[in-house]
Symmetry: C2
């Protein structure tokens, strides 16, 4: 059967706009991947009456109620108190949870002094499944009552996310008696609406597995989700749809179940034992920053030169002044010289370079916002790609960095470096 | 009088987790700054029945209902249809809006071919205030009915935000007959809980103006908000509280109504006509990236060297190999040599440098995660600050960049460079 869920986030800080509700997006994504329909998502403050009204409403219209927040001592354990009352359950002391909370504070505080009010977190609804919290102090819980499944999770995303993934998702899967499996294909080189147009008919026709697009800045994720009796069967359902997507998109698909182009590039560089450097003008450090966001980047990334001024392009990368004078800093010739200069200066196997107009204004030679040259230098020669889509400053920069990583992953994978963007 | 508002976000893409609900946070913040209480925030999908039920509920309990999304042709103008019906209003054709929509497509498409269904966006509730959309096609609207104020805004944040700021906020202010003014003080060098502790009693005691803290990664924002009959009176209410905060925090306050440390640094550099460069190891391009996120950075920022490998520190910045051998890459000596090397290589007036252990693992000399040296080189000499707080990789990097900008703004402002962080 198909279940409906409702998400209820508790916290005055959410209603004051002090924090962004990333828990809600995460839970919506995960529930959708589990094949559970979410029809409502509500936020209420730390107020017992309003929370109670929201719970009564949820009880009347949804099979599964998932709450986030309101479990800690600072809010008097509002959520547990209110939900236990709404479903006629008593809170009982759980000595195992209490010991875990004591241990947590001992490890953290060294002094061993724990504010006693923390122990109220060990009071849990009678007969519930306790969700052990290995990422913080407040345990979560699940109980079934009046035909409803009630799940309570802590609010901090660093606790809510792993608690859902490791404790709640298996429970919800068991509920449906099915296995739900997703596979995410990442696409660079075709815009969201073109992808949508290409697959619209198939997306509408498919029911198991489903196929859904998620737009990211400058790229698209296509997620295939299957329900089946076991994992092997789910995989078997996904495989032909994945093959179909790959047949249509070819090498625009840069990876499956990966999180970014740079992750793919870094893994390939490590596998091949190659080193990398970069030279950045319009991206201004973004390529280096994205690479070094990843732990382990130091194994292959030697460094980069952010040469914002022409003077720096000449001084650090040896770009000839004649090139800068003749073609201007935003040119194919300078991009190539920057990439080759970086490879020389850093003594790396490969190097990428960007030069372009990020905006908001055209450059002093009248080059328009969005014009970017992206070069890749290898022992076999240097290749340069041109992008010229007018966008906001942020998007121009993000997409220029995407192009640099795309050139790298194509070179490393032995694919053609040319790319005709489709929008 | 004090109004209560309720936010109703319409969009199946929100319930699927395809997009993050940043509109809700923005509106909560802005409404709170206007002194309007938000008690509920709800998300429903593109479904007329569920939207209608949510509207009925909102009508029964809130003075102001603000919707986002569901205004475009792809969802059959769901929100306008449903709200007009719920409040017994007809939709009437507005020729001015229709012409604006036609013009918008003509400018964008050049071909002048506009899908005709776009014109339904020009159907608006009778007697409403039309909110002209200068940032997209769908106009918003406000109407008053049955003692309720209903506000409809488009969903895309790039339209929702300016529409609220320029069209809705003045309407809501006029409603209360008061002026509400906020002033935001930005603080670096004291943790959120220390700031909270320092001002807790005052925050609880103050009612007009109010004082509220907002935590950001590695810094804190303190917002003072006053209600008054006019702007001058509101300013007069804010001034003594601002003076009080500044007296307690001293030079930890780095700016008022600014958005980041780098914005302050960039403005100061421009005002003084000074140039800057940087040398980054553990921050890996983040300092350069943050500077070049800002339009106009090229006026003062010459460039940076991301010297991830020791070899690059020697080759690009001239850091002596003996220093690297004797003290290791993560040392005061190397940070100083990097900053001085960058100032030389880029021929800039000032330079900052970072070297440290971002994690997740200690470095090969056993230096712990979080140990970072941040140096500033000036014509008067070089200063180095040490930070050693163990945090996640991301936080270590963000805070190291904060330190670099903090050194710069202190130098530019003639303030002491020493800083004892308080948590």
């Amino acid at each position: 059967m198909s279940y409906t869920a409702e998400i209820l986030c508790v916290g005055t800080e959410l209603l004051l706009g002090e924090i962004l509700n990333t828990d809600a997006q995460f839970l919506c994504q995960e529930l959708s991947a589990l094949g559970i329909n979410v029809y409502y998502q509500t936020v209420v403050g730390d107020n017992p009456e309003r929370l109670e009204r929201a719970v009564e409403l949820a009880k009347s219209r949804s099979d599964i109620l998932i709450t986030t927040g309101g479990l800690g001592p600072t809010c008097d354990d509002l959520t547990k108190q209110t939900l236990a009352r709404a479903f006629g359950k008593k809170l009982v002391f759980d000595p195992v949870s209490a010991q875990r909370i004591r241990d947590y504070f001992e490890r953290r505080l060294h002094t061993g002094q724990m504010p006693e009010n923390n122990l109220q977190q060990a009071m849990l609804p009678e007969g519930c499944v306790i969700l052990q919290n290995d990422w913080g102090t407040a345990p979560g819980c699940i109980f079934e009552s009046e035909g409803r499944h009630v799940v309570m999770l802590p609010g901090p995303p660093s606790e809510c996310r792993p608690m859902f993934t490791h404790r709640v998702a298996p429970y919800l899967q068991a509920l449906s008696g099915e296995v739900i499996l997703s596979r995410s294909l990442r696409v660079f080189g075709m815009g969201e609406s073109a992808v949508e147009q290409l697959f619209r008919a198939r997306m509408d026709a498919l029911t198991n597995p489903t196929l859904a697009p998620y737009a990211k800045t400058g790229e698209v994720e296509l997620r295939i989700t299957a329900k089946a009796a076991d994992e092997a069967e789910a995989r078997a359902l996904i495989a032909p749809v994945e093959a179909e997507v790959r047949a249509k998109l070819g090498d625009l698909v840069y990876g499956a179940d990966v999180s970014s182009l740079e992750e793919v590039v870094l893994a390939e560089l490590r596998a091949k034992g190659l080193t990398l450097s970069c030279a950045e003008s319009c991206t201004g450090g973004l390529i280096a920053k994205r690479l070094t966001d990843l732990p382990g980047a130091s194994a292959v990334f030697k460094g980069g030169a952010v040469t914002y001024w022409s003077q720096a392009k000449a001084a650090l990368l040896g770009v000839p002044q004649e090139l800068l004078d003749q073609y201007g800093a935003v040119s194919r010739e300078v991009a190539v010289a920057m990439a080759e200069g970086a490879r020389r200066a850093f003594d790396s196997d490969l190097a990428v370079a960007t030069t372009g107009v990020a905006g908001p204004d055209p450059d002093d030679r009248g080059n328009p916002v969005g014009l970017v040259f992206i070069a890749l230098s290898t022992p076999q020669g240097t290749f340069c790609r041109r992008a010229d889509r007018s966008m906001t400053r942020e998007r121009v920069r993000v997409c220029a960095a995407h192009h640099a990583f795309d050139l790298l992953r194509r070179h490393l994978g032995g694919l053609p470096l040319e790319l005709n963007l489709v929008f």
